[in-house]
């Protein structure tokens, strides 16, 4: 297969769960070598999340979970007990042949291990290190506990989300992938700077700050005008119709958004309701917005008689932005994702072969791809410690005996 864009970049990855691993996935799919550092006593807890493949009865539960398998494909896996002196020493040896250290622990962990950036820099002057705790590495709240469920509200995303007239609504752990995505961009920027200057650096990424940037226009309405946005469901201040409409079947919806007169015309034609165009309530965009309750009711009558994908196709053919609200099963059936090969099949020695979420963008000359499934726990100990580091077999056996690089959680 062709060379991938980030081949030659080696990232030592101490991160767990979502933010850091998602960051690593975006880079691994494009060819970066991500060495995921876990331990038998403390492996990525996502390994125990999700579901096991139906019909698979292998003994090692921590290798066959659905979430871990998708998120950590393309990565190498090693085990090091980072709480031991030998483990830290081994980590430092790996550091010397790596380009980036990625971690998403709470603020004090690396410091408590004696492995913060000032120390790492002494071992490798041009190392790039990135930390991505909830609130950043400094400030009065740096030691506060954060998980996606409380970080999303703390970043401002929840206050502006909700059904009209209702309380703010949870958005899930949205801040995790936002932080991971932001981190990937930060690492690539630092790599670029280092390529032209030889200088590494430290990146302090606050998950809350990264997420707040995605509501920048909302923030500026407050700083310019003192205005706080109310929750407004799926509607918008100037456009109508703009919402999700119930379709035939159980919990089936189609999103329809009209922002121009041309799209409005298309909607009237596509739904077979030319009389709406001459209805005085809907004469122009302003009055359509004013009368959107009635408009939504009429549109719902049309969508209620149709399959959501059929409604989408009919309206798109008439030039109207419309999208069926796809559930995961429907994503795999969708013709656009299929045409673009967005769900390639990936084989894993214990989990089996499955179609999996693909690469996030297409690069014409150095395309990303999924070369391998997620690593078994400690799968690449031999390769990394012997081939990459050149440790003699004797030393490896000693470390194994002492439990420093054990990969077997059943023997703790």
């Amino acid at each position: 297969m062709s060379r991938r864009a980030l081949e030659g970049v080696r990232i030592l990855d101490l991160s767990q769960i979502w933010a850091g691993p998602y960051c690593g996935r975006l880079l691994a799919d494009m060819g970066a070598q991500i060495i995921k550092v876990e331990s038998a006593g403390r492996y990525d807890s996502t390994r125990d999340s999700g579901v096991a493949p139906q019909g698979v009865t292998g003994p090692l539960r921590w290798n066959i979970g659905s979430w871990f398998n998708t998120r950590n494909r393309n990565k190498l896996g090693i085990t090091i007990d980072m709480t031991t002196a030998e483990g830290k020493s081994l980590f430092l040896k790996l550091l010397e042949i790596s380009d980036v250290v990625l971690e998403n622990f709470s603020a004090r962990v690396m410091q408590n291990w004696g492995l913060d950036y000032t120390i790492l820099q002494k071992h490798k002057a041009d190392i790039i290190m990135i930390s991505m705790p909830a609130s950043g590495m400094t400030g009065p709240e740096r030691d506060y506990v954060g998980m996606g469920s409380n970080i999303s509200p703390l970043a401002g995303l929840v206050a502006i989300t909700g059904y009209k007239g209702d309380v703010p609504h949870s958005v899930g752990a949205y801040t995790d992938p936002i932080a991971g995505l932001t981190g990937a961009g930060a690492i690539l920027s630092a790599l670029h700077y280092r390529a032209r200057t030889g200088t590494g650096q430290y990146i302090d990424l606050s998950q809350r700050e990264a997420a707040a940037r995605l509501i920048g226009d909302v923030i500026v309405d407050y700083t310019m005008n003192g205005r706080l946005w109310p929750v407004m469901g799926n509607r918008r201040p100037a456009w109508a119709p703009h919402s999700c409409y119930r379709c035939k079947g159980e919990d089936k919806w189609v999103a329809i958004t009209v922002t121009t007169d041309a799209q409005w015309h298309g909607l009237c034609v596509g739904t077979g309701h030319p009389e709406w165009e001459t209805d005085p309530r809907f004469a122009d965009a302003v009055s359509r917005h004013t009368h959107q309750d009635e408009l939504d009711r009429l549109l719902s009558e049309w969508t209620a008689e149709r399959d959501h994908r059929e409604a989408m196709e009919t309206l798109q053919a008439a030039g109207v932005p419309a999208g069926a609200v796809l559930n995961p099963e429907e994503m795999f059936e969708d013709t656009q994702y299929a045409a673009r090969g967005y769900f390639p099949e990936v084989s894993h020695p214990e989990a089996g072969t499955f179609p999996m979420l693909g690469v996030y963008a297409k690069l014409s000359k150095t395309p990303g791809y999924i070369a391998r499934g997620a690593p078994l726990l400690g799968e690449h100990n031999e390769y990394v410690f012997r081939s990459l580091l050149g440790l003699p077999q004797q030393e490896l056996e000693k470390l194994l005996l002492e439990g420093v690089i054990s990969a077997d959680p059943t023997k703790l």
Binding site: G139, G156, Q201, I215, D217, L228, Q263, Q316, P321, M356
Partner: protein, 399 residues
């Protein structure tokens, strides 16, 4: 000028609205020289609110001002042969071009990737569209809500029995723009080895779908739809969700693996330590009583108090921050996150600042350009047009 991580890069930004321009806005904040090339009547986001003091003036759109920070701005009419020639003349010095036109549009103007590559083999062309450059949906219309629906994410949020609920604002468009930034920098990095540029096809829906790792995996592995589900949001019975307190909403639960009785201690309500409340099942069964016990305490305290005290007690506490809360947050203030940026039409306004802090190459917050502000600087300064020729180009409707 302080050195930025990407100060060696020049970017031509042909993109419009949010996703593409947010990508190039990140490049600008990291030090790249981004030339925003707008149609003569400007990026449509100049006509979208929120507007400064409610005045719908093209230089007062808060959306435009935020997304397009740090760029130089020129106007260019690509529907003229002269205009297309100017773009070709800007090409040799460009590292990156970002565009968001419908698939095939630039090629129809003789400005497709193969034509651009012939002039500058090192250029990276990033094309951002809703659905991608090919496939049955390539000519379809997209929007924030439509993209959200087709990404698979929308089905996961909201209350059961009600319509699915999108996150407020335009979060998904920013997310996709940031994804395009990651793709662009990936290709720029590859250039260090290959010496060549390439064409990037970033579909917004594919960027968003990349977040649906858990639900798609559960479906494939076991035919179930797991992960985040559509459940009630109202905080209750000590579980997740929004709890109403004195002046807003908070989140307050023990940390994973810790006893619920810790809340009894924290709120000084000994009844909460009752063994009936010890398990999640028990808490749901006795929900009404539990909520009745907790509510007076919640009503008596502000969100900031509950957040700070809760965290000091090592509970998983949070508060639902409004934008006002973010601006006033002791943490955000200590970190200097919000930055003042001056602008001729609005004066100094606070904006979100750096998405991350780099120790060697700090983020640069500079204002967005006025329409055609740098026509002189770019066309005369870079391309050596005379002032007279600049006027001619204007009269001819080229710039």
């Amino acid at each position: 000028m302080v050195e930025g991580a990407l100060s060696d890069l020049r970017v031509l930004d042909l993109s419009l609205d949010i996703a593409g321009p947010y990508c190039t806005g990140l490049l600008a904040g990291l030090g790249a020289d981004v030339i925003k090339i707008e149609p003569l009547d400007g990026d449509p986001s100049r006509r979208a609110g929120p507007f400064f003091q409610g005045d719908p003036h093209p230089e007062k759109s808060g959306l435009f001002l935020y997304v397009n920070q740090g760029k130089r701005g020129v106007t260019l009419n690509l529907n003229t042969e002269t205009g297309r020639g100017i773009l070709r003349r800007l090409l040799p010095a460009a590292d990156v071009i970002v565009e968001s036109y419908a698939p095939g549009y630039l090629a129809s103007l003789g400005l497709g990737y193969s034509q651009l590559e012939a002039i500058n083999p090192r250029v990276v062309l990033t094309s951002v569209t809703h659905f991608g450059q090919d496939g049955p949906y390539q000519n379809w219309q997209g929007s924030e809500l439509v993209d959200y629906a087709l990404s698979g994410q929308l089905s996961r949020i909201g209350d059961q029995g009600k319509e699915p609920l999108k996150t407020g604002g335009s979060v998904e468009q920013y997310y996709a723009g940031q994804m395009a930034f990651v793709a662009t920098m990936t290709a720029v990095f590859s250039r260090w080895t290959t010496g060549e540029g390439q064409h990037i096809d970033q579909a917004i829906t594919e960027a968003l779908a990349s977040m649906v790792e858990m639900a798609t995996a559960d479906w494939q592995f076991a035919g179930v739809v797991g992960g985040m589900g559509r459940t009630s949001n109202q905080g209750s019975a000590g579980g997740p969700g929004q709890y109403l307190c004195k002046d807003g909403f908070v989140q307050i639960t023990p940390r994973r693996g810790e006893l619920f009785a810790r809340l009894a201690d924290f709120m000084d309500i000994p009844e909460l330590a009752d063994p009936r409340f010890a398990t999640p099942e028990g808490r749901i069964e006795h929900k009404a009583e539990l909520d009745r016990l907790m509510q007076p305490w919640l009503t008596a305290h502000t969100k900031l108090e509950i957040y700070q005290m809760g965290q000091e007690h090592r509970l998983l506490a949070g508060y639902t921050c409004t934008v006002e809360d973010l601006i006033e947050s002791p943490q955000f203030q200590d970190r200097g996150y919000f930055v003042d940026v001056d602008h001729p039409f609005t004066g100094a306004i606070k904006y979100p600042g750096a998405p991350f802090k780099m120790s060697e190459t700090p983020w640069q917050a500079r204002r967005a350009p006025l329409l055609g502000e740098h026509n002189d600087e770019v066309y005369c300064g870079l391309l050596n047009y005379s002032k007279k020729e600049l006027v001619m180009l204007r009269t001819l409707g080229v710039i």
